[in-house]
């Protein structure tokens, strides 16, 4: 019996049945078939507990949402204290929490002028794309093939058709996609001087974290400047110290016209996202401040949490911890790739953003399952299932990191076995 006070379920099976009936049959059956039928019950730190009681170390983190782990006590304390004073607030009016948080965010990126808030990453992308159109008076948006920017109108149109076609939401006339790491393809499109914005994840997450080639992002930015296109960095997965610096673009020496962040910004306990813009791009905020409205965007509780998230990330102890975790997995994975080179063929890494490549078109699905069976939860990349997204948190401790490596090593024989079956079936 799982009695939660407000509702209860007889068993995990009972829950799965109801979830399929009332919520999302596709997702319920997908995870069951994938061999990872997780229903997260308790969660604490970097640990998840399935309804069965099975403990999993979380290396999915929902793309960095749980950067600090689940229910980080300090962030929970902040939100609780906020609830004694604030609620979501009234988005029409200036507010102390929003002003303070905006100032704090802008201070992390001095060439920016304004922070515009949303409730999720897609909304922040939406704001960025609209802002680019406003600033350039052009309509077209360019992104990369297999990019991912969210699921709302403009953001989904900017991403892979995997998520837009089914809803007839692709907009091929206004949304153009070019191959990643191909600077000539980008120039061919931008040179027509009718593109409002070029949006790119600093390291494309859903594509499996392929690393931008040396100078690629810089060249993209230069082309944007040359042809009057706004350069937008999607930092939803690369921001918040995950690449070893506050924002991924800082590590590449860029100065985007706008960047968007979300996920971990709300500490995993209150959803909030932001689009930061330069003074020039954000001029609509002077012309018509109510042009974009969001009831839950920039909710004051989220601002309070976000404010504290930034403060925590700036602590020297956290900066140092990120370096230790990154260094640990760099060394550990180099060792693993040697031991398991028959299936494990590549590591893509920047900071605590890692993509692990396996030698099979759906290799990461098998590895994800093998890891799950060995107490580690890491998800495959939706748009490149050869690659496992491997995303350690910024305050992971040494013992848990060692445990992850040990469990990874232990999971490899099972992954090998699963891959063999998949090859035979193919």
């Amino acid at each position: 019996m799982f009695n939660y006070g407000y509702f209860s379920f007889e068993s995990k099976d009972d829950l799965l049945k109801k979830a399929a009936e009332y919520w999302n049959p596709g997702k319920v059956s997908f995870w069951k078939e994938a061999g990872t039928p997780m229903v997260i019950d308790r969660r604490e730190g970097y640990f998840l507990y399935d309804m069965s009681g099975k403990r999993l170390i979380d290396l999915h983190l929902n793309g960095g949402t749980y950067n600090f782990g689940h229910r980080h006590p300090e962030l929970v304390e902040v939100l609780k204290s906020g609830l004694d004073y604030f609620d979501m607030g009234n988005h029409w009016f200036p507010s102390v929490a929003r002003a303070a948080f905006a100032e704090k965010l802008v201070a992390t990126a001095p060439h920016m002028k304004y922070a515009i808030f949303g409730a999720g990453g897609a909304e922040a992308v939406e704001i960025a794309l609209k802002t680019a159109r406003y600033a350039t008076k052009r309509r077209k948006i360019v992104s990369i093939i297999k990019g991912y920017h969210g699921h709302s109108g403009l953001s989904v149109a900017a991403g892979d058709e995997r998520f837009s076609k089914i809803f007839l939401s692709e907009m091929p006339d206004d949304f153009i996609q070019v191959p990643f790491n191909d600077i000539d393809a980008l120039e061919a499109v931008l040179s027509k001087r009718d593109v409002a914005g070029f949006i790119i994840e600093t390291i494309p997450a859903t594509y499996g974290f392929p690393m931008p080639e040396d100078g690629y992002l810089r060249a993209c930015q230069d082309l944007c400047r040359k042809y009057g296109t706004k350069f937008i960095a999607d930092e939803v997965q690369t921001g918040l110290m995950r690449t070893g610096v506050m924002w991924g673009w800082q590590g590449y020496g860029l100065t985007p016209d706008m960047f968007v962040c979300g996920k971990g910004l709300g500490g995993g306990i209150y959803p909030i996202s932001a689009c930061l813009t330069t003074e020039e791009c954000g001029a609509w905020l002077i012309e018509d401040g109510a042009a974009h409205i969001s009831t839950s965007g920039g909710a004051e509780l989220g601002c309070l949490v976000g404010h504290h998230v930034i403060e925590m990330l700036q602590r020297p102890e956290v900066v140092s911890n990120v370096n230790f975790v990154a260094e640990f997995f760099a060394r550990g994975m180099a060792e693993m790739i040697e031991r398991h080179s028959d299936i494990f063929v590549g590591v893509r890494q920047r900071g605590v953003v890692l993509g692990l490549e396996f030698d099979h078109p759906e290799g990461a699905v098998a590895v994800s399952r093998a890891l799950y069976e060995n107490g580690v939860w890491a998800i495959f990349s939706s748009l490149d299932k050869r690659v496992l997204q491997f995303k350690p948190g910024v305050v992971l401790d040494v013992d848990t990191c060692q445990e992850i490596m040990d469990r990874f090593d232990a999971a490899m024989p099972r992954a090998r076995e699963l891959l063999k079956t998949m090859r035979r079936a193919a």
Binding site: V78, S81, Y85, P316, E317, S320, N323, E327, V398, Q402
Partner: protein, 514 residues
């Protein structure tokens, strides 16, 4: 305006950032310890040498800052203490190898060193920099990471000293985070960290309350209690030399070392000689009136007068209403007979030495036993040539070190004797402590013993032990070691608050730092 607005208090409660940061420091230390435990002996000694050098260079500057911040002690003497904790300390332990496996072929035993991991160390206000230096050096030599928590009254200089050493260590290849210091310590913070399962051992030097809390934390602890050293001056002693030792010891850093003599006892027949010798060594020997005034000044109804800690003899004389020569180095109140109840027989962390005289050696010994119980397990001194009495004295008093014909402050702490140089003086079982000797790096390492059967063949010589310490240096850190946090003025403890904190701690410890 609302009441809250007029009071200007925060409208929301804010989590204790310092506590959170301290926990993160412990996490960072665990990372450093993970890598440092495999360092080779050469790499360890290179780091130790670099840290010693860096510490020596700034010994005088930090001594000055420590006196300015705490108001305790003498710059010149603190400089000496700080320096002693650099090259001298390192030289003392240079040949103690805590890194290389030990092979005992005869007994068919191999011992592999296993460092503790993360050391959490408390440092007192009276010896702030010397303690930081000393404990950091112990951690380095034993391949441990250390997080220091200074006394709030000495936090600025302690953090600065720790940062300075950390930079030197990292520049020589030590992992980032090997030496860290809590920047804004508080009692709840210290209690939280002491109880954390993330630390490996606590080094508690401080007030009794803190030391007891360390032992109650559930973590392994090496804590030591307060002292109340008695010096016995036998008629066989060279009285002038003994007097010089006593004056030198009591004047050293104005007696803030817990090893300083509290009471000098001699025999009645020798008292006159002793007084004369003390006078010529620079002491002001009090008459009955002066003794009374001093007693009244030093011991109030709230206990020992904390204002007097670490102050000079002339400063105290002036406050107590004594007229003394400006060159006076120590004050010597005289209590005619060695009773147990005179307040002047208690610990005094200031240059005041109570002189008394017994009828015979037996009475002196009985008195010494009782008096040192107030500082049980700590130190005592013996001046004289009668070795039978020396043995009887040492056997009788409940202390773990008896300094002979030398100043006790420096002698028991290992600077004027061949005892291990230390600012953490083990007070052993008698003083409710887990160690009875001077704390050294060997206390922070335990050994895994590989033991063959007595009658089975064992070719120990052929075993390759190189893998035990890889000796690899740290890769260049991708990001430099963190800058010190800038303290907001409002977060600083005010002078009153500071006084209150010290009072609070010292009141509970009834005497001083160990």
């Amino acid at each position: 305006m609302s009441e809250q607005a007029t009071l200007d208090a925060p409208r929301l409660s804010v989590p204790d950032r310092e506590l959170s940061r301290a926990r993160m420091k412990v996490g960072r230390a665990a990372w450093a310890a993970r890598y440092y435990k495999d360092f080779s002996r050469d790499a360890v000694m290179a780091i130790a040498d670099a840290v010693a050098k860096a510490g020596y260079e700034k010994a005088a500057q930090f001594a000055e800052e420590a006196v300015a911040e705490t108001g305790f002690g003498v710059v010149e003497h603190k400089t000496i203490k700080n320096r002693l904790c650099t090259h001298d300390l390192l030289d003392y332990y240079r040949d103690l190898d805590l890194v290389t496996p030990r092979v005992d072929e005869a007994r068919k035993i191999i011992e592999l060193p296993k460092p503790a991991g993360v050391v959490f160390a408390l440092a007192p206000a009276t010896n702030p920099v010397a303690t930081v230096y000393y404990k950091a050096m112990l951690a380095i030599l034993s391949r441990n990471a250390i997080v220091l928590s200074p006394h709030p009254a000495a936090k600025a200089v302690s953090s600065a000293a720790a940062r300075h050493l950390a930079q030197a260590a990292e520049a020589t290849g030590a992992p980032a985070g090997l030496i860290q210091c809590v920047e804004a310590p508080s009692i709840p913070l210290v209690q939280d960290i002491m109880g954390s399962d993330r630390i490996s051992v606590i080094l508690a030097t401080g007030g009794t309350a803190m030391v007891r809390a360390a032992y109650s934390s559930g973590n392994p602890a090496l804590g030591v209690g307060p002292g109340n050293a008695v010096a016995y001056i036998d008629p066989t002693a060279k009285v002038d030399a003994a007097a010089r030792c006593l004056v030198e010891s009591k004047a050293f850093d104005n007696s803030v070392l817990c090893t300083n003599e509290s009471v000098a006892i001699t025999l009645g027949s020798n008292r006159g000689n002793m007084e004369r010798a003390l006078r010529s060594a620079g002491a002001h020997v009090c008459n009955e009136t002066d003794t009374g005034r001093l007693r009244d000044y030093l011991f109030t109804d709230k206990g020992f007068n904390l204002d007097a800690i670490g102050k000079s003899a002339t400063w105290i004389a002036e406050r107590a209403g004594l007229r003394v020569n400006p060159s006076t180095k120590i004050l010597v109140p005289v209590v005619e007979t060695p009773g147990q109840d005179d307040l002047l027989f208690r610990e005094k962390l200031c240059p005041v030495l109570t002189l008394t005289a017994a009828g015979d050696f037996e009475q002196a010994l009985t008195f010494a036993k009782h008096t040192t119980r107030r500082g049980a397990g700590h130190s005592a001194a013996f001046h004289g040539e009668d070795t039978d009495r020396l043995v009887a004295f040492s056997q009788g008093v409940p202390v773990y070190r008896v300094v002979v014909n030398a100043p006790c402050s420096q002698g028991a702490a290992g600077f004027a004797t061949h005892l291990p140089p230390s600012f953490t003086i083990g007070t052993g079982f008698a003083g409710r402590s887990s160690i009875g000797e001077n704390l050294g790096p060997q206390h922070l390492v335990q050994w895994t013993r590989i033991a063959y059967g007595k009658d089975v063949p064992a070719a120990l010589a052929g075993i390759d032990l190189d893998a035990v310490s890889s000796g690899r240096a740290m890769p260049a850190a991708p990001v430099a070691s963190p800058e010190p946090a800038t303290h907001r003025r409002s977060a600083d403890v005010s002078r009153d608050e500071l006084r209150r904190l010290i009072l609070e701690e010292l009141r509970s410890l009834k005497g001083g730092d160990a």
